[in-house]
């Protein structure tokens, strides 16, 4: 980073918002993919659009790579810094600029925390639907970059499906606006919102985002079913789907994940090979009728124990173990890697058998927790980072799982994104020509390849491996890797 660039930054930012000392930059060296770290040259903390735009233009002019960063909860290393690059920290742009319950929309800045939108909308009977498990800390800007999901994606989609309009600064400093307050989004002309969301920070920075809010369901009905066989839990999901019901969430945990959850949050789960959670939501009269049907299906599915949540407290108890499963696994093992590949729902059983075989082959433990409704796996590969070569072995196993997902007709990522972590697996999913076209598009928007350089596409310099262990926030149970 040259002196003239730094001086230009000093003209935009006061000293307390331009960080260059090692000790100030330490918090930015890593994200939730804790195995890696890189030291950026500097970090700036803008407080308005103009400062972001000026910074991006400056980066473009000086060809300095930058990473826009919210809370740094990316599981794919999507917000890992670039060596000698700039971090643009967006947490101070955290205003909800407009909340219009009548039209069910909110206009927000990129640094707004996901959950705070639902909290602001709650008095009006509304909420913001995408619910990544880090929602109490992750920002909308990061959700947009990675098209974040959550447990409720099957019915209402991922982040992209909830963004109606945006104002963005492209990586070359061009400011552009698309979409608006209509639920149709862009409506006339190509869906630029859909293209920008999920671009992993490679196109530029979202400055202002118009979001769609949803009415809170009148009633949730939740059932927990225990099985003595993982395949049987998977079959139950197929039976639910075949019945024509459309649950808001369907989640499965295997024995190891159940054991971890029990040890950690003591949810009182049955001792089982697999647990299935199914939740229906909507208008009370309809949901109660659907629940009767669901209960019949679960009874026929061979579950040895069925628990129905009869109160909000019991519902919370069912979810407590599921939501705490990831941080709980951290108690069983000093380190773990989590993948989020997707397989067609009908091939879930096959995928689990294969993962079981890979587990044997690598002699590593794998806990399985997954969004069964949309085939989104979350295998947690347990290893001890203090053992030489253990991380490499765990990564090799993770790679085989990704290849398996592609071979079964799925995807290498359902909601975490490619980031730094999975970039070398892109060729497994896309042809050379498809990758070439995506890269050409990236260069058409960012000719100097400065925006989040080193992410999504194979190759590029590798960040340094960090010491082992969980992210401090993960240890505290604030975030989890799902």
């Amino acid at each position: 980073m040259n002196q003239s660039f730094l001086e230009a930054l000093q003209n935009i930012f006061p000293a307390d918002r331009l960080l260059t000392r090692d000790v100030e930059l330490l918090p930015y060296e890593s994200d939730a993919l804790t195995a890696f770290q890189t030291k950026p040259a500097a970090a700036v903390l803008p407080e308005n659009d103009e400062e972001i735009i000026e910074t991006v233009r400056l980066c473009h002019q000086h060809a300095v790579p930058f990473v826009a960063r919210g809370s740094g909860t990316s599981l794919s290393g999507g917000s890992l810094p670039i060596a000698d690059g700039l971090i643009i920290g967006l947490n101070r742009l955290n205003r909800i600029k407009k909340l219009d319950p009548q039209q069910r929309i909110a206009v927000v800045e990129p640094g707004v925390i996901n959950l705070s939108i639902s909290e602001a909308a709650q008095p009006y009977g509304l909420y913001y639907a995408p619910d990544p498990s880090s929602q109490s800390i992750c920002t909308i800007g990061g959700n947009i970059a990675f098209n974040s999901g959550g447990a409720h994606c099957l019915k209402y989609g991922m982040t992209s499906n909830h963004v109606l309009g945006m104002k963005v600064v492209l990586a070359d400093g061009t400011v552009t606006q698309f979409g608006g307050e209509s639920i149709e989004g862009v409506g006339i002309g190509p869906d630029l919102v859909g293209l920008f969301v999920g671009s992993e920070g490679l196109f530029g920075i979202a400055l202002e985002i118009t979001l769609r809010l949803m009415p809170q369901p009148e009633l949730y009905r939740t059932v927990l079913a225990a099985y003595d066989d993982l395949g049987r839990a998977g079959d139950a999901v197929s039976m639910v789907v075949a019945s024509g019901l459309l649950p808001g969430a369907m989640e499965i945990m295997d024995r190891l994940a159940i054991k971890a959850a029990e040890a950690s949050v003591n949810a009182g789960y049955p001792d089982a090979e697999a647990l299935l959670i199914v939740e229906l939501e909507g208008e009370a009269l309809q949901v109660n009728a659907e629940f009767e049907q669901l209960h019949g299906i679960i009874e026929e599915s061979g579950a040895f124990e069925i628990r129905v949540a009869e109160s909000e407290a019991e519902r919370a108890r069912i979810w407590k173990g599921r939501k705490g499963a990831f941080s709980a696994v951290g108690r069983l093992s000093p380190d773990y890697i989590v993948q989020d590949g997707v397989v067609p729902r009908s091939r879930l059983g096959e995928a689990l058998v294969e993962i079981g075989a890979l587990k044997e082959k690598y002699a590593l433990d794998v806990a399985n927790v997954f969004h069964a409704g949309d085939g989104n796996l979350h295998p947690l590969i347990l290893y001890d980072g203090r053992e030489a070569g253990a991380l490499e072995k765990a990564e090799a196993l993770a790679g085989e799982i990704l290849a398996l997902c592609v071979n079964l007709g799925g995807s290498i990522t359902g909601e975490h994104g490619i980031g730094m972590e999975k970039r070398d697996y892109m060729p497994a999913m896309f042809s050379e020509e498809e990758l070439y076209i995506m890269q050409a598009l990236r260069r058409a928007i960012d000719p100097k390849e400065i925006a989040n350089r080193g992410k999504m596409f194979p190759g590029g310099e590798a960040p340094a491996l960090k010491q082992h262990g969980m992210h401090p926030l993960e240890k505290a149970g604030v975030i989890s890797r799902e």
């Binding site: 219009d100 009548q102 039209q103 929309i105 009977g125 509304l126 098209n147 099957l154 209402y156 989609g157 991922m158 499906n161 492209l170 698309f178 608006g180 307050e181 209509s182 639920i183 989004g185 862009v186 409506g187 006339i188 002309g189 190509p190 869906d191 630029l192 859909g194 293209l195 999920g198 196109f203 009415p215 789907v241 024509g244 019901l245 459309l246 909507g282 208008e283 009269l285 009728a289 997707v342 067609p344 729902r345 009908s346 949309d374 989104n376 799925g410 995807s411 359902g414 975490h416 994104g417 490619i418 999975k422 999913m429 896309f430 498809e434 076209i437 995506m438 050409a440 058409a444 928007i445």
Partner: protein
């Protein structure tokens, strides 16, 4: 308009490579799109049709882009499923044309529009390259989401040959209600009430009527619960929004066809927000019109397209002409197309697609 109807991706690639100008047509149901073709080679997608992959248990279906919407709807219906974005012109349009023009019907209100249900596509771009975008599973976050970009792209960036969608189980039964209001403001207030309530409507359209405005609402679900849900909804609407009348309507084909009563020189789709309706409606009240999807879309039939375009510009809105003799199908306020131009540069640098 009939051009060559290639039956394979390779034929489409060679057509693109051997032509200076290319114009794509599906089943030709949106006639306004096909007036200014500048002597381009016409690529007719009628042969690129059929259901290619459909596993009801996956909630996904892959079809040839030239497939009639009605064929897809019929195949899904056999398994109790439907495409929740509810393609417009279900009797005449192709699925590719539905995506290219982004045309969703009234049931879009419940779960979302075309952009919310497209998962992936097979394309041939202006360089003659054939490639895939997106995926074939319901959840996928790998790579740039060019499949969503196709929605509304009007065939100007690439030719779609194959499309994959997410589909849902459909409801077995429906009930429709009409709430009548004297003033537009009252009808809009009723929409705002519904927006903040937990009633899950299948569709909600706002229609000018003799002596005021009608709000047409539909509930979907099980036969055994619908009557009670309808009573509960109607009672709450009566209490909170004071309609002049409430009528239960029979489920006829025309009731939910937003274009059924719209005739004029041009037929136009406009995307707008409910709160933009009062100002816009004052300017265009000579047009026959219907505001769909809870007031987020306008369907207009007008005789004076210039006056309509001027009104749209004044309100900062844009419209897509579906039928009528127009120079360009897109009218109204200019678009900020900085990002779209970058895509054009990559997919169709020689501006072959018109």
């Amino acid at each position: 308009m009939r051009g060559s109807a290639p039956g394979s991706i390779a034929e489409i690639q060679s057509l693109v490579l051997n032509s200076d100008r290319v114009h794509v047509v599906g089943l030709g149901s949106k006639t306004a799109l096909h007036h200014q073709t500048d002597g381009a080679a016409i690529v007719d997608l009628a042969e690129m049709s059929g259901i290619l992959e459909y596993q009801p248990s996956e909630y996904t279906v892959t079809v040839g882009a030239g497939s009639p919407v009605r064929d897809l709807a019929a195949a899904l219906k056999q398994h109790g499923q439907y495409l929740p974005c509810d393609p417009l012109l279900p009797g005449a349009a192709s699925i590719g044309g539905t995506v290219a023009c982004n045309l969703a019907g009234p049931r879009r209100f419940r779960y979302g529009g075309v952009r919310d249900f497209i998962l992936g596509a097979q394309l041939v771009d202006g360089m003659g390259r054939a490639f895939r975008v997106g995926g074939k599973v319901v959840k996928n976050a790998a790579g740039f989401d060019l499949s969503k970009f196709l929605v509304g792209s009007l065939g100007r960036y690439a030719i779609m040959t194959e499309l994959t969608f997410k589909v849902f189980p459909d409801a077995p039964c429906f009930r429709s209600l009409r709430f009548s209001y004297a003033r537009l403001e009252d009808a809009l207030s009723a929409i705002y009430f519904i927006n903040q309530s937990a009633y899950e409507l299948d569709a909600l359209d706002l229609i000018p009527a003799a002596g005021g405005w009608s709000l047409l609402a539909r509930l979907a679900g099980f036969e055994e619960t619908l009557p009670r849900r309808v009573e509960r909804f109607a009672a709450s609407m009566e209490r909170e929004t004071a309609p002049a009348d409430i009528d239960k309507l029979p489920e006829t084909d025309d009731l939910w066809d937003p274009l059924a009563d719209l005739s004029g020189e041009v037929l136009v789709k406009v995307a707008l927000a409910p709160k933009q309706i009062p100002a816009f409606d004052r300017m265009i009240h000579a047009a026959r019109r219907r505001y769909g999807v809870g007031g987020n879309l306008a369907w207009l039939a007008a005789d004076d397209v210039e006056a309509l375009a001027a009104a749209l510009r004044k309100c900062g809105l844009r419209g897509l002409c579906l039928r009528g003799a127009v120079d360009s199908p897109v009218i109204g306020a200019p678009a900020d197309d900085a990002l779209a131009q970058r895509v054009k540069q990559v997919l169709d640098p020689h501006h072959k697609f018109v």
